[in-house]
């Protein structure tokens, strides 16, 4: 059973990551891009956690039982940091979107480009 999904779970996660990346670069809507970023990053977190899993292991919280097998805590720590970084990035991005909507009256990338193309540089 374990062998069967030995790599399978990596692959599904990679597919999910690519879905997020695709939304980020192919969609014109700015909010949708950031949704794609969230999808992309959450899937990366999943990939990391997959790496730390040990079969038959338990959560890395020490208990008085020497025979217990623990899962690897290192990816957990890294991802805790990465989650925070991710939400910080989306917050800044969304604040920018709000301001962009205020000054351009649209959040579609191609329409913004069209408006910008009409403005001279200086």
């Amino acid at each position: 059973m374990t062998q069967a999904i030995g790599l399978y779970s990596y692959w599904i996660v990679i597919l999910l990551m690519m879905a997020g990346l695709y939304i980020m670069i192919a969609r014109y809507n700015l909010v949708k891009k950031i949704i794609g970023l969230g999808l992309f990053q959450t899937s990366i977190f999943y990939l990391y956690i997959t790496m730390g899993k040990v079969d038959g292991g338990t959560a890395p919280i020490l208990v008085e039982d020497a025979t217990l097998l623990y899962s690897n805590p290192v990816p957990h720590v890294l991802i805790l940091t990465a989650i925070v970084v991710g939400v910080a990035t989306s917050a800044v991005a969304l604040a920018l979107i709000v301001r962009i909507y205020e000054s351009f009256d649209t959040i579609e990338e191609d329409e913004i480009k069209a408006i910008e193309a009409q403005e001279p540089d200086s």
Partner: protein, 142 residues
């Protein structure tokens, strides 16, 4: 974000008032129990902030701002970072490397305990401040 303070969600308001103390209590639990179970400064900060966000959603931002003014939030988010980095500075003054908590007490284990306590508190304060600020920022545009 549109908030409707004047509408009569009396039930929601009463329930919210009942729930908020428990949310805050849970936040404190997560903050200080992070050594033993899942949790820590960051999660606690988010839970703390969620109590205020709930208050803002139900009673309107004006009311929440009376409880917690933006100036206080600014101080909170700076103080948290200063507390964390300051712990590092103190360990350096006491002869250790940056963030080497061993030197904080006579016994390294106690030092570690105090160090982790201080930095988790710093994280918690900053995260609470920033998360509520984010909510204020997005909610107060209109």
């Amino acid at each position: 974000m549109k908030l409707y303070p004047r509408q009569r969600h009396r039930v929601l308001q009463v329930v919210t008032k009942l729930v908020i103390p428990f949310v805050l209590m849970f936040g404190l639990y997560v903050q200080f129990h992070g050594d033993y179970g899942p949790g820590g400064g960051f999660q606690a900060g988010v839970i703390f902030a969620s109590a205020f966000i709930l208050h803002g959603l139900i009673f309107g931002l004006q009311q929440t701002r009376r409880v917690l003014s933006p100036g206080v939030l600014r101080v909170m988010m700076s103080l948290g970072v200063l507390l964390y980095a300051g712990t590092g500075a103190v360990t350096m003054l006491m002869g250790g490397n940056l963030l080497d908590y061993d030197v904080l007490a006579h016994d390294p284990l106690h030092g570690q305990h105090w160090g982790i306590f201080a930095v988790e508190l710093g994280v918690g304060i900053t995260v609470t401040g920033v998360m509520i600020s984010l909510f204020y920022g997005f909610a107060s545009k209109r």
